[in-house]
Amino acid sequence: MRTRGLLAAAGLALAAYGGWLLAGLDGPDLRNALVWLVGGVLLHDAVLAPLVIVVGLLVARTVPGAWRAPLAVGLLVLGTATLAAVPVLGRFGAPEGNPTVLSRDYAGGWLVVAALTAVGVTAAGLAARRRRSRGARAGG
């Protein structure tokens, strides 16, 4: 109990310092930061999480048994990598006349990741199907 009390007090102090730093921003900057803070939670809780549930249901209902697990992992890998790569894929920050940053063919790179994921999912799916049919034979 004492550990928890000390931890909670330390956490509150750290967060309070962060809140104090944040409150020190200029009015418009602070409002903009709050929009981003609240927006992130809303975007996750109201858009991304329900979307993942819908995709999960689709996979569970329409994909044959052996393929579900490989596909779920494949979507997890590709989905999170894609999300993390949004800033480069969109090239939103590419400075004009400066080819040394953000000059890569990121869309092409994404296709490579997607293709490798597809290969991985296919290999794992085929292996799972073989295991299942063998298991069914062995089990009679």
């Binding site: 550990t3 928890r4 931890l7 909670a8 956490g11 102090a13 750290l14 967060a15 309070a16 310092y17 962060g18 809140g19 730093l21 944040l22 921003l25 418009p28 900057d29 602070l30 930061a33 981003w36 803070l37 609240v38 992130g40 939670v41 975007l43 996750h44 809780d45 991304l48 999480a49 993942v52 999960g56 569970a60 697990a69 779920a72 992992v73 997890l76 890998v77 999170t80 990598a81 993390a84 790569a85 800033p87 969109g90 939103f92 920050g93 590419a94 400075p95 004009e96 400066n98 080819p99 040394t100 940053v101 953000l102 890569r104 990121y106 092409g108 790179g109 994404w110 490579v112 990741v113």
Partner: protein, 381 residues
């Protein structure tokens, strides 16, 4: 249709047994990002009670690379963690007042934690790709929210400590802590399968950007930001900085000032001084870094021309007319370091305009934004 409550989610994977394990790794990533972030913030602080060290020369390169990679690894971990605990969002508030207040406070702390965590990863990733779709100062805000995130994380661990302990002590497949309504066995994926899949997703995300920090991964890293293939990248070109005319014009001079003493040098004067070589990285605050061979005049030799005492800090002024890094302060330990140069050459050739021609500062273990380009004035403080 009835609104779902926390017992409506049946997946066998949405269990504290999974959340505690993913949360453990997520906590490590946030902890590493927080500490390396503090290093970077301090390295950029205009006044440092304890001087930032000049060694190892690759120190900032490593801490800032690790900072960005830890944040990237946290993306799949955070998303999976939030997925496993999503049912909790639908918990019905209790009726009794005391319980309701406790419930509200816990909700608030979780809200702050999620908001701060998502904010840090989203702004950090955008910044690493030089994208600033906001009006606030990135550095000040990312720093403030970092304390908020870590504070809320520590409070969360304090609140959940008994559950975390019990979950980590038991097998991952244990049902002891599962919510009412959780399935009795695996559906699409096993719990181990989800944990391995999450680790794989983190690994892929890290590999995809690590080429910005680790040269031999550059070809493999399809989402790496600097991608100039062998050439040293540039964050801000001379044209963007608006210095082309003055940096290439005949009127360019380098002025050294120490009190009433002033020495004015032309590029030819600079070239006539003893030239040194140093192999030093440019380590950008956005995370990318690259080694290069620099040639130029030792900064200390220039300070000697105006008889600056040892340990003097120096204000370095660029030709840039705007921007927060138009002038930077070089602490005394950096100014005296034999590896700190006012570089006029890169890889044995004259310094290109975009890299700071006629001369730029290059010092060991220093954030890239403080390696001032197009230097026109050195003032001993």
């Amino acid at each position: 249709m009835r609104l779902p409550d926390e017992h409506s989610f049946a997946s066998w994977l949405r269990s504290p047994a999974v959340a505690a394990r993913v949360g453990w790794w997520l906590g490590i990533c946030f902890g590493v990002a927080f500490l390396t972030g503090l290093v970077s913030h301090y390295a950029q602080a205009p006044s440092q009670p304890v001087p930032f060290p000049t060694r190892p020369v690759w120190g900032y390169r490593v801490t800032q690379g690790v900072h960005v990679l830890a944040g990237t690894a946290a993306v799949p971990l955070l998303l999976v963690k939030l997925w496993t605990v999503y049912p909790r969002l639908f918990t019905r508030p209790p009726r009794a007042w005391a319980a309701l207040v406790r419930h509200g406070l816990e909700r608030l702390s979780i809200g702050v934690l999620v908001a701060a965590a998502v904010f840090q990863l989203a702004t950090g990733l955008a910044n690493a790709a030089q994208w600033y779709p906001w009006t606030f100062s990135f550095r000040a805000t990312h720093y403030a929210v970092a304390w908020l995130a870590v504070g809320a994380l520590v409070v969360h661990v304090a609140v959940k400590l008994p559950v975390i302990r019990e979950a980590l002590a038991a097998e991952v497949d244990s049902r002891g802590l599962d919510r009412r309504g959780t399935a009795a066995g695996p559906g699409v994926l096993s719990r181990r399968g989800l944990l391995r899949g999450t680790a794989l997703a983190s690994g892929v995300a890290v590999l995809a950007i690590a080429g910005g920090m680790v040269p031999w991964l550059r070809r493999l890293s399809v989402f790496a930001v600097p991608s100039s293939g062998g050439r040293l990248p540039v964050n801000k070109t001379a044209r963007e900085a608006g210095v082309t005319a003055r940096a290439t014009g005949a009127a360019y001079r380098l002025t050294l000032v120490h009190g009433s003493r002033e020495v004015v040098l032309t590029p030819a004067d600079l070239a006539a001084l003893p030239q040194r070589q140093a192999e030093l990285p440019i380590a950008c605050v956005e995370g990318w870094s690259a080694n290069a061979r620099w040639g130029g005049v030792r900064l200390r030799d220039l300070l000697d021309l105006v008889e600056a005492p040892a340990g003097s800090a120096v204000r370095v002024v660029s030709l840039q007319e705007t921007g927060p890094f138009r002038t930077t302060t070089l602490p005394g330990n950096f100014a005296d370091d034999p590896l700190t140069l006012l570089a006029v050459a890169l890889e044995g050739r004259p310094l290109p305009l975009d890299h700071g021609h006629p001369c730029r500062l290059i010092a060991p273990n220093r954030p890239g934004v403080l390696q001032t380009k197009w230097v026109t004035r050195l003032e001993v403080l």
